[in-house]
Amino acid sequence: MPKLMIVEDNPENLDMLSRRLAKRGFALCHAVTGEAALDLAPRERPDLILMDIGLGAGIDGLETTRRLKALPELAAVPVIALTAHALAADREESLAAGCADYDTKPVDLPRLLAKIEAQLRGVAG
């Protein structure tokens, strides 16, 4: 099964999303800060990363994505931005930072699963 990495600082959201994705058979790992994600990702080598944009302390999700994309071994791993910021500008910022797709919270699981599957199949959009 593909391995997903969830970068999320809110414990409830992390728990909820982890449980629902685990139930659908994904292997999971997670980080609660951008720095932890940068540390963990090269070792875990996930197939896809779900990136919260507003990450409380430290660097935000956009900066984390930029740095991940700069790492040769992770440049090809798709990142889906997942944020409670729902403005059109947020979507564009995410895509500009290197995210392959964008989804808003609250999570609409069927919609998110469709996006994850599309990315894992190598389909943009």
Binding site: E12, N13, M16, A84, P106
Partner: protein, 525 residues
């Protein structure tokens, strides 16, 4: 004994003056001087034809005054023989005075600030006085010959020129009464000084047999008549000048008042403009603050809603797996309420963006069929839940449209969702057709349901925020109460509109009309 010419005795005649008429002659020229200088002031204060009028008035007043003074003074002058005056030369002498003075005033009028012009005008006036005087003398008809003492003749001309120049100069220095009176006095010296000096330059020697002690003329009466006529004419002229001066002063005062008022108004407008600019900046800051605030609210609400909806969905899955149908219904209510809050947050954010003028429109060429299919796909579950049949009647000929696909789709999903919610076991028809408005192609998309319909009295209000056709009915069907308001605003952003036709119990037809070749609307709503 001086033999001048055969037939004339070279014994000068005894000359005398009637002092009261001499005084009268001085009064005439003083008054004429005062009047003419006042008229000249009016001339300098006016323009065009009116200036010419004042110029001629001043010239006639002064020229006429000089002539009157001369004539009254001649009537004051007495020789022991009758004196007559040739009418032709007498009239010419009047014209000579007026012509010289006119030319002098023309020069002043042309260059009031030039000293050379002033001197030229003074010389012309002085020469005018002299020319008038000696022409008048030449008009004398009597039994005597005039012998001139030339130095005094020259002196008389010099007095006329110098004093007239001084009078004009004084008159131009100030408009105060004192200056005017002093200038008039100078003019009196110019004319009377010239005249009496000129008279002193002349001696009269009688012809044989012409000596007489009396005269048939009544010089006193004639002199008073001439002087009175002059005074009346001059008085009228002076009156005109004074009235004009008063009117001019009033006009100037009014102009000043208007200018002050204008300046005050300009100041007020300036102040107000600054105030309005500040108010505008405050409003813009407030508007930005509101948008930022709403963006923050949106973010803060979404995070806990993510947990509410997410966990309720986990619970629903677990309840279904474990057959806990009793709690399943309750948990579904929590999820529905959570989704309702989410819909509200989304709609409020969209409405506030439209109101702040921050909702941007991206026109692109899209397939209309794709938009219809998307809307049906999204609403499929709602349509099926209420047992509705959905028919799509698409006019293939107009498939490609230029519009903002996101906004059109959002509005269409809203209308289709409403139709699905308010119709049970009926038919929802989605139809498109091409229309022409003002020579341009328009797309009309109708959403026709066979549902409960909307009463006429509620039809106007359905597009208002938080107004639903019938709140009791609507409450059972969910919805934010913002969907139609938002949809109409979105379609108006695309340059179109949404309209409604409905009959209670029969169904509703909502029509989206948008330009097929979309243009940007000027402003939101």
């Amino acid at each position: 004994m001086l033999q001048t010419e055969p037939g004339f005795l070279a014994i000068p005649l005894v000359e005398s003056y009637r002092p009261e008429l001499v005084l009268l002659s001085l009064a005439v020229i003083f008054f004429a001087g005062f009047t003419s200088l006042s008229l000249a002031d009016r001339m300098l204060a006016s323009f065009g034809r009116i200036r010419t009028g004042w110029l001629l008035g001043a010239a006639i007043a002064l020229g006429g005054g000089i002539w009157s003074m001369h004539f009254v003074a001649m009537l004051a002058f007495q020789l022991p023989m009758p004196i007559n005056y040739a009418p032709g030369l007498t009239v010419i002498s009047l014209l000579v005075a007026i012509v010289f003075v006119t030319v002098g005033l023309l020069i002043v009028s042309w260059r009031p600030d030039s000293r050379i012009a002033l001197a030229a005008a003074g010389i012309l006036t002085g020469l005018g006085v002299s020319a008038m005087h000696y022409t008048g003398m030449a008009a004398m008809r009597m039994g005597a010959l005039i012998i001139w003492y030339q130095p005094l003749v020259l002196l008389s001309v010099l007095i006329g020129v110098v004093a007239a120049t001084a009078a004009l100069w004084l008159s131009l220095q100030s408009k105060t009464l004192v200056f005017k009176l002093v200038a008039a006095a100078a003019m009196t010296i110019a004319v009377a000084g010239m005249h009496y000096t000129g008279m002193a330059a002349a001696s009269y020697v009688p012809a044989h047999g012409a000596l007489s002690t009396g005269t048939d003329l009544q010089p006193g009466v004639l002199a008073v008549a001439v002087a009175a006529a002059s005074f009346i004419i001059l008085f009228l002229a002076l009156l005109a000048a004074m009235v004009d001066q008063t009117l001019a002063n009033r006009a100037r005062a009014e102009a000043e008042r208007l200018r002050d008022l204008n300046e005050k108004l300009e100041g007020m407008v300036g102040t107000r403009t600054v105030e309005l600019l500040k108010a505008k900046q405050r409003a813009e800051r407030a508007s930005n603050a509101k948008t930022d605030f709403l963006a923050s609210i949106s973010h803060e609400l979404r995070t806990p809603l993510n947990a509410v909806i997410g966990y309720s969905e986990i619970l629903i899955e677990e309840a279904e797996e474990n057959g806990l149908t009793g709690s399943l219904e309750d948990i579904e209510k929590i999820r529905t309420a959570g989704r309702h809050i989410l819909a509200l947050v989304n709609d409020i954010l969209d409405l506030s963006k439209i109101e702040a003028g921050k909702m941007e429109v991206y026109i692109e060429r899209v397939a209309l069929k794709d938009i219809l299919d998307d809307a049906v796909t999204v609403c499929r579950r709602m349509l099926d839940e209420n047992g509705n049949r959905c028919i799509v009647e698409h006019a293939v000929a107009i498939d490609r449209v230029d519009t903002d696909v996101t906004k059109l789709r959002q509005a269409l999903i809203n209308l289709l969702g409403n139709a699905a919610k308010f119709t049970r076991n009926g038919t929802v028809t989605l139809a498109t057709r091409l229309a022409e408005r003002d020579g341009a192609d328009w797309i009309e998309i109708t959403v026709h349901d066979t549902g409960i319909g909307i009463a006429p009295e509620h039809q106007e209000g359905v597009f208002d925020e938080f107004q639903r056709g019938d709140s009791n009915v609507a409450r059972h069907h969910g919805g934010t109460g913002l969907g139609l308001a938002l949809s109409r605003r979105l379609i108006r952003l695309l340059g179109g509109d949404i309209t409604l036709a409905s009959q209670p119990g029969t169904g509703s037809v909502f029509t989206i009309a948008v330009p097929a070749r979309g243009r940007l609307a000027e402003a939101a709503d």
